[in-house]
């Protein structure tokens, strides 16, 4: 169980996190929000790579503000940063092996077996001997995911994990994360509402460093209930709409003339929620 209480992070005059309260348990929780909402800052605080300016985090009874407990917490987490840097001259195996050493896996045979396991999980076994600099963007993302999986951590923190993955790899990723979510705590941030709908039993929408929604994907979609329309004619330019693949116009908000109501999706609910908050601000 992870409890986040009144968490804040200030960069100069900007409040990246503003008194955030959140409790996380077993399962997959998705963080949605526009750029600058505080998702990455929250994940970095959870991953113990960034000290908050105020408030507290308690994970599995451990307080990361204390150096000894912070190290104990790091033994139980796996982290995929938004911008994972690599040593380009390392091979894929070398890099994951290096992180495994930093995760205190000192027995070589056991460590190598674990490295092979996580590389197989992300379908990188055939690339194990390739230099990192020769990998495509999607392969690098899978490599970053592989190192996060080392040691089957209790808490898996994934910052935009599906960036750069092709559709097939995304399906593999979803299968992997949903399986992990059965017995582990997985927190992921994403801009992909499809990932949230497919993967997460809980979604938290962040805006200006605060949680403005906390519920299931279905509940988020419900925010736009009765506010999503399909029409053959383009609505007024003042409305939010886009042309769909079948040539009809999907409108979010007031009903355009001769439009049909349609079931909202997670993306509709998310956009409607942000719009309401922008109007209220």
């Amino acid at each position: 169980m992870i409890q986040i209480r009144n968490l804040s992070k200030v960069y100069g005059h900007r409040r990246a996190l503003d008194g955030l309260d959140l409790t996380l348990g077993t399962g997959v929780t998705g963080l949605l929000g526009p750029n600058g909402a505080g998702k990455t800052t929250l994940l970095r605080c959870l991953a113990t790579t960034l000290a908050p300016s105020g408030g507290s985090i308690e994970a599995y009874g451990l307080n990361p503000a204390d150096p000894v407990q912070r190290t104990a917490l790091r033994r139980r987490l796996g982290y995929l940063p938004q911008d994972p840097g690599f040593y380009p001259h390392f091979t894929v195996f070398d890099l994951v092996d290096y992180v495994a050493i930093l995760k205190e896996m000192t027995v070589r045979e056991r460590r190598h077996a674990e490295v092979r396991r996580v590389l197989a999980e992300v379908d990188l076994t055939d690339q194990a001997r390739l230099k990192v600099r020769k990998l495509s963007g999607g392969m690098r993302q899978r490599l970053a995911l592989a190192q996060a999986l080392l040691g089957e951590p209790d808490l898996l923190i994934l910052d935009e994990p599906t960036v750069g993955l092709d559709p097939e790899q995304r399906m593999l990723f979803r299968a992997l994360v949903s399986r992990l979510g059965e017995s582990h705590t997985v927190v992921l941030s994403t801009h992909q509402t499809e990932d949230v709908a497919a993967l997460c039993e809980r979604v938290v929408v962040m805006r200006d460093g605060r949680a403005v929604f906390d519920g299931t994907p279905g509940e988020l979609a419900g925010v736009a209930a009765g506010r999503v329309w399909l029409s053959d004619q383009a609505p007024a330019a003042s409305q939010v709409f886009w042309r769909t693949a079948d040539g009809r116009y999907r409108t979010l908000g007031d009903r355009p003339p001769s439009a049909d109501a349609t079931a909202p999706g997670v993306e509709d609910g998310y956009l409607m929620l942000l719009r309401r908050h922008e109007e209220a601000a």
């Binding site: 940063p81 911008d83 205190e104 045979e109 460590r111 077996a113 092979r116 923190i157």
Partner: protein, 263 residues
């Protein structure tokens, strides 16, 4: 398709798992396209999985760099050797820069003995520079990835600093006999180096590593400057009493760093 099939003796060795990896892979490849040979191999899922694991373990493993192999042969545990050699400032470019600096110091001192203090004063700054560039988000491309692991922080910094200090110390030690000075004076940089490096590590618990290195470097130059102004000789701060002070400071600060690193 050729008419060749796996001979009985080869199949038996394959089944016993005594073939070398390359030959075993050839047999595997043949089995993949020859139904007749496949039929002759008893199929047992557990056995097959164990065989693949053995093959993977043999073929998919890291190939240590020459320096890492050297450390292992020298008795350094494999995981520690890997940590040491992966230090950013253990790269070839950094080592070449240190060699060039030391060589320049020696050549200058041999040309003009008055330049000897420059070598002695500069030697403790070399490991400080290396330590400053060994750990932190600005100098390590994979820092964010590593920062969430239990070994990051003081323990990893200490490991990397040890590697940097060892290289700088060995190179300066090799250069010392070439200096135009008695052996005691030629090695007078050693204790200030150790004190400065351990001071930097101790301070890095509270400050970013580059700032800690810059601060300690500044303190060192201030000590040298003060000594030079008071006594009129740049060599004043390398005397026996000062050396005792550096040695004591190095011991105390190292102990402090050790305590923090195991916390």
């Amino acid at each position: 398709m050729s008419g060749w099939h796996i001979p009985d003796d080869l199949r038996e060795r394959y089944l016993a798992g005594t073939l070398d990896a390359a030959l075993a892979m050839s047999v595997d490849a043949h089995l993949g396209r020859c139904a007749k040979c496949r039929a002759a191999v008893p199929y047992e899922p557990d056995w097959l999985e164990a065989s693949w694991e053995r093959l993977e373990a043999e073929l998919i493993k890291p190939r240590p760099a020459p320096f890492e192999r050297l450390l292992r042969h020298g008795g350094v545990p494999g995981h520690l050797a890997r940590l040491l050699t992966a230090t950013p400032t253990m790269s070839r470019a950094w080592v070449v820069a240190v060699v060039a600096s030391v060589a320049f110091g020696v050549v200058a001192a041999r040309q003009d003995a008055d330049l000897l203090p420059a070598f002695l004063i500069g030697a403790p700054v070399l490991p400080l520079t290396g330590i400053a560039l060994a750990y932190g988000p600005r100098v390590d491309p994979a820092h964010e990835l590593m920062a969430a692991t239990p070994l990051s922080g003081p323990r990893l910094l200490l490991t990397r600093a040890t590697a940097v200090l060892a290289v700088a110390t060995v190179l300066a030690a090799i250069a010392s006999p070439l200096l135009p000075a008695p052996p005691g004076l030629s090695a007078a940089w050693l204790l200030p180096s150790l004190a400065a490096a351990s001071g930097c590590l101790a301070l890095s618990n509270r400050l970013p590593v580059p700032i800690a290195a810059f601060a300690v470097g500044g303190v060192w130059l201030a000590i040298v400057g003060t000594g030079g102004l008071v006594s009129g000789s740049w060599l004043a701060v390398f005397g026996p009493v000062a050396q005792l002070g550096y040695g004591l400071a190095a011991l105390l600060l190292s102990f402090r760093v050790y305590r923090v690193s195991i916390a």
